[in-house]
């Protein structure tokens, strides 16, 4: 694992203070300004491989900005970040290339590499879409398109999986199925996962840790130790939900 190599970013080659463990994200003193406006303020944050972290916060608190910086889509203004080289993003909208067949949307620039198609089929089989490999994206439903987006990330065997509100455009029934799928894939492949969401219930349902972002800072770091196949109606579940909501109320 090396520092992210996209663009001359603020990453450095100095050894991580957590070299013994396996942080896939290690951020120190990260700030982001848009002109006068401060979105992230000297933020510290570490995410281990195999850990599932959800990032919640009122809109405009920089959740998505942080994810985009980690994903290399935006530059921070100052600070330091070490990020796993093998990082893949699943966006809110599936972002499929309509002019390419499903399996080519999975492999992208690898289409001519030997074995790429077979690996794409494996990834598609894992999301339950093996029979759609040759289909055109316009023929997919919303849930299927989002699963192709997940297969595309999975194909890259990422150490860090970034999820930018990937469930928010799905209907309630499909959302639960895709959420279960993501947890299932995470348990099988154990990447570090960073999920940005504004759905508190979703955060508590999926994550090991819920970070509450507010005013450009991490306001709270709430561990979720409930055993999985979590029951959203249980008292413990709702106690955690309430704690996060309280933090959110003070985050403004």
């Amino acid at each position: 694992m090396t520092s992210h190599n996209a663009a001359p970013r603020f990453a450095t080659a100095t050894p991580s203070p957590l070299a013994g463990a396996a942080p896939v994200v290690h951020i120190h003193g990260l700030s982001k300004h848009y002109g006068e406006q401060t979105v992230l303020q000297a933020l510290d944050f570490t995410l281990q491989k195999g850990e599932f972290v959800a990032l919640v916060g009122p809109s405009g608190t920089g959740k998505t900005t942080l994810l985009r910086i980690i994903g290399g889509l935006e530059q921070a203004s100052s600070g330091r970040a070490r990020i796993a080289e093998k990082t893949a993003i699943v966006f809110q909208d599936p972002r499929l290339i309509l002019a390419q067949r499903v399996w080519k949307n999975v492999v992208l620039q690898d289409a001519r590499k030997p074995g790429a198609q077979a690996r794409a089929l494996d990834a598609l089989a894992e999301v339950g879409l093996a029979n759609k490999a040759q289909a055109w994206p316009v023929s997919l439903s919303g849930g299927e398109a989002q699963r192709v987006g997940i297969a595309r990330a999975l194909y890259r065997e990422p150490d860090l999986l970034l999820l930018d509100e990937p469930f928010s455009a799905l209907d309630a029934f499909t959302r639960r199925k895709v959420q279960d799928l993501v947890v299932d894939l995470w348990q099988r492949h154990r990447p570090g996962v960073l999920l940005v969401t504004h759905d508190i219930e979703e955060a508590v349902l999926l994550a090991d840790r819920v970070l509450v972002l507010g005013g450009g800072l991490v306001k709270a770091d709430v561990p979720v130790t409930l055993p999985r196949k979590r029951d959203t109606t249980s008292a413990e579940f709702n106690a955690i939900k309430r704690r996060i909501l309280e933090h959110l109320a003070s985050a403004h």
Binding site: A6, L73, F91, I97, L98, A99, Q100, K104, L108, Q109
Partner: protein, 272 residues
């Protein structure tokens, strides 16, 4: 309250083939009626054969052109002119449009001058081209090049500019190189626009062909028309005009087929 009852029977929907056949018949109805009426008026002596010859006489004109070998000689010459002009002009428009679509620098460099030139009706350039390039093939082909270049340029440029920026961001986040993004994202998604550009360009090239062949042609369809004009053969003039029309229809059919093959990924809107 009133309630409407809808009843469906399994035979209420016509089989696809029958529906298709009847729609084709419907398309042909108006042209056929017009030609029959035209022939009828001519046969009844209501039309002056010199002003508007009957469809039958025009068919005889084709027979005459075929027997003298003029038609067989003219068609390849005209098609080669139009094809060459279209290939060069369309190709140039495509390259310029793609580059302008991808690079803001290139767009700033030559988009404004091209837009200015575009507003000149190319037919107005005929006298100037004769002065510059003479009355030979060069002036004719260049005129067709000028006619074909802009439709492809404009549509390629707009097709590329219209691509969702989020998809290019996707390319960046999945570490695709610029060339890979162009090959896998930009060109395939801009293809519908590019093909529309070629379709317009083909029509435009045909128009350019007609204008170009008015310049002292010694071969080609324009030559037949000029000759017929001198000998006051209205039937041959109309026969020649109809060939131009037929070429236009043919080009359209070819472009439609090309779209069908190249754009299989798009939902089809052209089906009844």
């Amino acid at each position: 309250m009133t309630v409407k009852t809808l009843e469906y029977r399994f035979d209420s929907q016509a089989p696809a083939s029958r529906a298709h056949g009847s729609s084709a018949a419907l398309r042909l109805l108006v042209p056929v009626v017009l030609v029959v009426a035209w022939q009828l008026c001519a046969s009844l002596g209501w039309l002056d054969d010199f002003v508007l010859p009957s469809p039958w006489h025009i068919l005889l004109a084709y027979q005459e052109l075929w027997h003298t070998g003029e038609l067989q000689a003219a068609l390849p010459v005209s098609l080669a002119r139009a094809g060459l002009g279209l290939a060069i002009g369309g190709g140039l428009g495509l390259v310029l449009g793609v580059i302008a679509g991808l690079s803001a620098h290139a767009e700033r460099l030559y988009d404004a001058p091209l837009q200015m030139v575009r507003t000149i009706p190319f037919i107005a350039l005929v006298p100037l081209f004769v002065v510059w390039f003479g009355i030979g093939e060069l002036a004719k082909v260049l005129l067709i090049v000028g006619a074909a270049i802009f439709p492809v340029y404009l549509n390629a440029y707009h097709g590329i500019r219209g691509i969702d920026k989020k998809l290019l961001e996707l390319g960046n986040s999945f570490a695709m190189s610029r060339a890979e993004q162009v090959r896998l994202i930009v060109l395939p998604l801009a293809m519908p626009s590019i093909l529309v550009g070629w379709r317009y360009a083909a029509g435009s090239a045909l128009l350019g062909l007609v204008a170009a062949e008015q310049i002292n042609s010694s071969a080609g369809l324009g030559y037949i028309l000029n000759n017929a004009n001198q000998f006051q053969r209205t039937d041959i003039i109309i026969a020649g005009i109809l060939i131009y029309a037929l070429l236009g229809v043919l080009v359209d059919i070819i472009m439609r087929q090309l779209e069908r093959v190249l754009l299989t990924w798009r939902p089809r809107h052209d089906q009844p």
